[in-house]
Amino acid sequence: MGQDAGDSFEEFVRGRSAYLFKLALLLTGQNWAEAEDLLQISLERAYRRRAMLVRDRSPEPYVRKVLVNASIDRRRTLKRRAEHRLEAGDYDPVVDDRTGEIANRDLLARSLARIPPRQRAVLVLRYWCDLSEAEIAATLGCTSGTVKSQAARGLARLRELAGVPAAERAANWEVHKRHE
């Protein structure tokens, strides 16, 4: 394994670990322990292939793919995890207090943690990573159609959890259906 590949990979980790950790945090619904674990899993897998990855292209798409798919595979992650977080509202219905923008953001953040992992991954890749549908499909190993439907379902579920009125939800759903 060449020294250059190792150096380039370390440079990549130094430059991008903050971004990747934030991505892991969003994908895990703000579970810090799980996010740290996911980050290490994905970087270790990329480390094994560092020579190939730094030679051919940026390791980032590969790391992102591993990160996203590992976060979706809850069974594997949960099996490894010996501890469960105890956070308020983990299983309680989310209540919309509507006291301001910060509260709304917090509400959305907590709601995001409650939607299915695959839908959450699609929304994070779409709205935080700014990836196109095709790029998301490539990351998840599915079709663009699946990405669209997952995004629409995820948004609908988020609206429901965040307390957006049913009429508004229905209108938004119709807009999404028309765009599909």
């Binding site: 980790v13 934030k22 945090l25 995001l112 079709t143």
Partner: protein, 444 residues
């Protein structure tokens, strides 16, 4: 983007605005890597110890039971004979069963054997390429998305010849050449030319076209629009097999003038009958797509699905047409199943099924099967091989090599139903090659 989506974007940014990664990430990654290697080494030692203990017993049993199908020698790096074409750190090399490697060329990104030659490609980084940086890219390596130049060379690396140089961007547009294939007589190259437009934050992908290049005159011919990642294959020296734009037929494309004629349609009664037998109740197939073609002996693999709309009930069935015989393979009765077939010269093929169970709670289950025209059945390969990224079958049709991410090559015996027609099956425990390079081909 509506208000809600904007709020969601802002909420996500706010959620992680102050998040910092754990300290010494790289050290933690190295530690995890060392632990994994130690686990693998321990598992390997146990396997070897068991094989050493069991081998004399097995040998004596075989000696008493008459002629065996064959065996792998402990002195060999890999069973199955022939030689593997690998790429490691940009070096193209042949790896022989005894462990000898012969480097044939440097600085390449990949290669495939074609008609007694190699078609190889490398990153050219032409002037202006650095402007095409994908969003989120961190280093100049990211310019290397569209700059492949193609070469031909002899199997020993001699007589290297640049046949399709990467094109420099024109204004705001670059052209990415990909999926190039040599015609059987090495006289023409078919390839996809994909337009890339550089936006303010990201690369936008534009139209892609199929082209042919006459290697004796240098004349390029536009064969019309073609999906960038759709497969195509040379049927003979002047004709290309390709999907039709509407997904309803396989077409023959004339490489000299681009004219298209229909080769096989989804409405062919033989295909409808085969599909209905494979997927009872799914209705007639709605789309047909090319999955592979092998000229010797000629074999055409196609995939049929029941609805035209991707993502809907797409119950796929794989059809292998060989000497006018139609063989149908439809493993897994799940509603959402995608199939791909990898053909080999030995007649052994690999069929991969990807099931979208739509519970959407994890990666889609992926299963690989080996099959052959002779056996007319499928044998499931060990689950450990489900994440392969490149595959090859040895020329004798006895060993399957599956590579995962450039670092690991799994070698498994071709299952008995697929190899025992000639009485030459190999029996061995799964073998792994570590850090040998990425697998490109397995040749005689």
């Amino acid at each position: 983007m509506n208000d809600f989506e904007r709020q969601l974007r802002e909420a996500m940014s706010a959620m992680v605005a102050d998040a910092e990664p754990p300290p010494a990430v790289m050290e933690r990654v190295r530690r995890r890597h060392r632990r994994r290697n130690a686990r693998l080494a321990a598992a390997g030692a146990v396997t070897i110890a068991m094989m050493v203990a069991v081998a004399p017993v097995v040998s004596s049993l075989r000696a008493g039971a008459g002629p065996a199908h064959g065996h792998s020698s402990g002195r060999l790096l890999f069973p199955g004979g022939g030689r593997m074409l690998l790429i490691a750190h940009g070096d193209l090399q042949w790896l022989y069963p005894g462990g000898r490697t012969v480097q044939i060329a440097s600085g390449f990104a990949g290669a495939i054997p074609a008609g007694g030659k190699l078609l190889a490609w490398k990153h050219a980084n032409p002037p202006g390429a650095s402007r095409f940086l994908p969003h989120g890219c961190y280093s100049p390596d990211c310019t290397r998305i569209h700059d492949l130049s193609y070469y031909t060379m002899n199997l020993d690396g001699s007589d290297s010849r640049l046949i399709l140089p990467a094109q420099s961007p024109v204004g705001n547009t670059a052209f990415q050449y990909q999926n190039a294939q040599l015609s059987p007589d090495d006289s023409r190259l078919a390839y996809i030319s994909w337009k890339l437009r550089n936006g303010t934050r990201n690369i936008f992908l534009g139209a892609s076209e199929l082209w042919s290049l006459d290697l004796s005159t240098g004349r390029k011919t536009d064969l019309g629009p073609y999906p960038a990642n759709a497969p195509f294959a040379w049927k003979d020296n002047t004709t290309i097999l390709a999907d039709s734009p509407d997904g309803r037929s396989i077409q023959l494309v004339n490489a000299q003038d681009g004219t298209r004629t229909t080769y096989l349609t989804v409405g062919d009664p033989r295909l409808i009958g085969a599909y209905e037998r494979a997927r009872p109740g799914a209705g007639p197939p709605a789309t047909i797509s090319l999955d592979g073609w092998h000229p010797s002996p000629s074999a055409l693999a196609i995939s049929l699905v029941s609805r035209a709309r991707v993502g809907s009930a797409n119950r796929a069935a794989e059809i292998l047409i060989k000497k006018n015989r139609i063989l149908t393979f439809a493993p897994n009765h799940n509603k959402f199943v995608y199939l791909t077939m990898h053909l080999s010269a030995s007649g052994v093929f690999l069929l991969t099924s990807l099931v979208n169970n739509c519970t959407c709670e994890g990666p889609w289950p992926r299963v690989t099967y080996a099959g052959s025209e002779r056996s007319q059945q499928l044998s499931r390969l060990p689950p450990i091989t489900s994440t392969w990224t490149a595959a090859a079958v040895n020329p004798a049709g006895t060993v399957i090599a599956l590579e995962e991410g450039g670092a690991l090559i799994d070698l498994v015996p071709v299952p008995s139903p697929e190899c025992n027609q000639e009485g030459k099956c190999l029996h061995f425990q799964m073998k792994q090659l570590f850090e040998r390079g990425a697998l490109l081909a397995w040749e005689p």
